[in-house]
């Protein structure tokens, strides 16, 4: 059962619904009334992407069609931009690209971009990271407000390999970024960070599942969210430590700011531990901006709107700081600042 299957078959019953525990906060069946025809091939030129200048190779997957080959040369360092685009007129599409990464460092700069028109999209990416492989994946979303967009990434990691991820969600009618990592331990390390910045009626869902199956694995997770107006943020983080996966070191944090009475955050951090000798922790907070800090800043002369933006940017800063690739970090930092300031100045519904 998945959005991709529903798109392929036209069968609404394939849509995940609130009766599925993992989808109870991101119900698709109650939302999508008909499955439209599949998106047509897009003919035309694409505007440049935000990461083009940083990448040696840009792969575009438009309306579910992989336009240029998606292979990454082995060895060395590579920066690859992958653009998932729902072009104007897109209706419903899915794609399942696969990437195998051997010895070397690869930075994947992914963007989800879409035009208005209420498209449905699911992208299922498989990442197979072999021994000696190090992947940093940065995902920026710019889906249309009326879109339904699901992205799933299945990561298989070899011992000694590493996978770092930062996803930045701007939301959609329903948007979900799901990441599954099969963690073998053996010195492999995983960082899974996320940030959702949602306004108006947008919905953004970050779901992660990390399964530790071997001894000596590290996972570090930091997710932050800012919701305003009538937006809804969802964080579901699950870390499973299988029997025998001793010496696992897993940490998960989720912290969210709710900036209006009608905005909502649903969070479910879970640790399922079947091993004996592990170091695992999780923390979760959902709250408003600190009124004391706000008054303090205003007393020093910073107008209320600017003070709120400053405190909100400070709140999300450490997620951005953890991006390892310097160029991508700078791009993300600027986009996040623009987005927060834009949301603060256009916001108002329900505030």
């Amino acid at each position: 059962m998945s959005l991709a299957k529903a798109i392929a078959t036209g069968d609404l019953a394939e849509l995940p619904s609130r009766r599925d525990e993992d989808w109870r906060w991101t119900d698709l069946r109650g939302l999508v009334r008909t499955i439209p025809e599949q998106s047509k091939s897009f003919v035309g030129n694409l505007a440049p992407g935000v990461f083009d200048g940083l990448a040696e190779q840009v792969v575009s997957i438009v309306n579910g069609e992989i336009r240029t080959g998606m292979t990454i040369a082995a060895g060395g360092e590579h920066v690859v931009a992958v653009r998932y685009i729902a072009a104007p007129g897109a209706t419903a599409h899915s794609a399942a690209p696969k990437l195998e990464i051997g010895n070397g460092r690869v930075v994947l700069l992914e963007t989800f971009e879409g035009a208005d028109g209420g498209y449905l999209s699911e992208i299922d990416l498989s990442l197979d990271i072999k021994a000696g492989g190090h992947v940093e994946r940065i995902v920026l979303t710019d889906d249309a407000a009326d879109a339904v967009s699901v992205a799933r990434c299945n990561v298989t990691l070899a011992p000694g390999a590493s996978f770092s991820q930062t996803v930045i969600l701007g939301g959609a009618k329903r948007q979900r970024i799901e990441t599954h990592v099969a963690h073998p331990g053996g010195g492999a390390s995983v960082r899974l960070d996320g940030l959702y910045l949602l306004d108006q009626r947008r919905h953004g869902d970050i779901t992660t599942v990390v399964t530790h199956t071997g001894v000596d694995g590290v996972t570090s997770q930091m997710t932050k969210g800012v919701v305003r107006d009538q937006a809804r943020g969802v964080f579901q983080g699950r870390i499973i430590v299988a029997h025998g996966a001793d010496k696992t070191d897993a940490k998960m944090r989720h912290d969210a700011l709710v900036l209006s009475d009608r905005a909502e955050v649903d969070a479910k951090p879970e640790l399922e531990i079947y091993a004996d000798d592990v170091s695992c922790a999780h923390g979760n907070t959902v709250g408003a901006l600190d009124e004391e800090a706000l008054f303090y800043a205003e007393q020093r002369g910073i107008p209320a709107l600017e003070a709120k933006a400053m405190l909100t940017e400070a709140f999300v800063a450490d997620v951005v700081d953890r991006i390892e690739h310097e160029g991508a970090r700078a791009v993300v930092r600027a986009l996040v600042a623009d987005k927060l300031r834009g949301q603060a100045s256009t916001g108002g519904q329900g505030q």
Binding site: D290, E291, E292, A293, F295, Y296, A297, E298, Q299, R300, G301, I302, P303, A304, E306, A307, M310, L311, E313, A314, F315, A317, D318
Partner: protein, 249 residues
């Protein structure tokens, strides 16, 4: 310069200040002393415009402008500075960034140009040096993990950088050891100027050995019940606040 007339302030509909009148001319330092619960912090917060401190009647004007009609940031741009009794931690915002944002916001509100980065850094280094602060501390998030003494120094540093018309020091001596008290007091004394007024709010006379006030006012039960020269502070130290509490009642 600062003129408070018959000020009434309530918090949650409970009257705290009940007809407080006080004037501080330019160039003078006035102390407000009083027992716990007299309304000392309420006075400082009401002047700064803290939400929840409702002025129900009376006026507070600075250079003829009614402060009570302004937002907190507008008051700051007019020259009101409050040194907090318990300075707030601002995670994620380095002290230097915070102070520069505040300084430029005030300048913008007054129609002045922004300060250049080199000028700002030069000024910050000079002022931090005179307060015997490690400059690296200014690169850390404001007040996060600072000791009580470090936070108070950071308040005085901000006061020196923002150069206000009216400085209100709320219990600046609390939490300071004797060395820190001396350094902070020297910092405050260096700020005395003919075009600046200061209001020093304190429970104890100790601070006034270092910051010599021109006038001392006694605040009890929401009003000024006595005013006098610096000797009044010593009298209070000897005899306590009892007789004023009775006057107020």
């Amino acid at each position: 310069m600062l003129s408070i007339k018959d000020l009434h302030v309530s918090i949650d509909d409970k009257a705290i200040l009940k007809g407080l009148s006080l004037s501080v001319p330019a160039g003078e330092v006035h102390a407000v002393m009083g027992p716990n619960g007299a309304g000392k912090s309420t006075l400082s917060y009401a002047l700064a415009g803290r939400p929840g401190y409702e002025v129900t009647s009376g006026t507070a004007t600075l250079d003829g402008v009614d402060l009570t009609a302004l937002d907190p940031s507008e008051r700051a741009a007019k020259g009101v500075f409050l040194s907090f009794q318990y300075p707030t931690e601002i995670p994620g915002v380095p002290a230097l960034t915070f102070i520069r944002t505040a300084l430029n916001a005030q300048r913008k509100a007054r129609g002045e140009a922004e300060i250049s980065a080199p000028d700002f850094l030069r000024m910050a280094k000079e002022k931090a040096g005179s307060l015997k602060m490690d400059f690296d501390m200014l690169k850390r998030p404001l007040n996060v993990g600072f000791s009580g003494g470090e936070k108070k120094r950071m308040e005085i540093l901000q006061m020196a950088m923002l150069a206000p018309r009216l400085a209100i020091l709320d219990e600046t001596d609390s939490g300071l050891d004797i060395d820190a008290l001396r350094i902070v007091s020297e910092g405050v004394n260096a700020m005395r100027a003919p075009d600046r007024a200061m209001l020093v709010i304190t429970h104890y006379q100790r601070l006034l050995d270092y910051i010599r006030p021109d006038r001392v006012h006694v605040l009890a039960a929401g009003r000024i019940v006595a005013s006098g020269g610096p000797e009044l502070a010593h009298e209070l130290e000897r005899e306590g606040y009892d007789k004023y509490a009775q006057v107020a009642a």
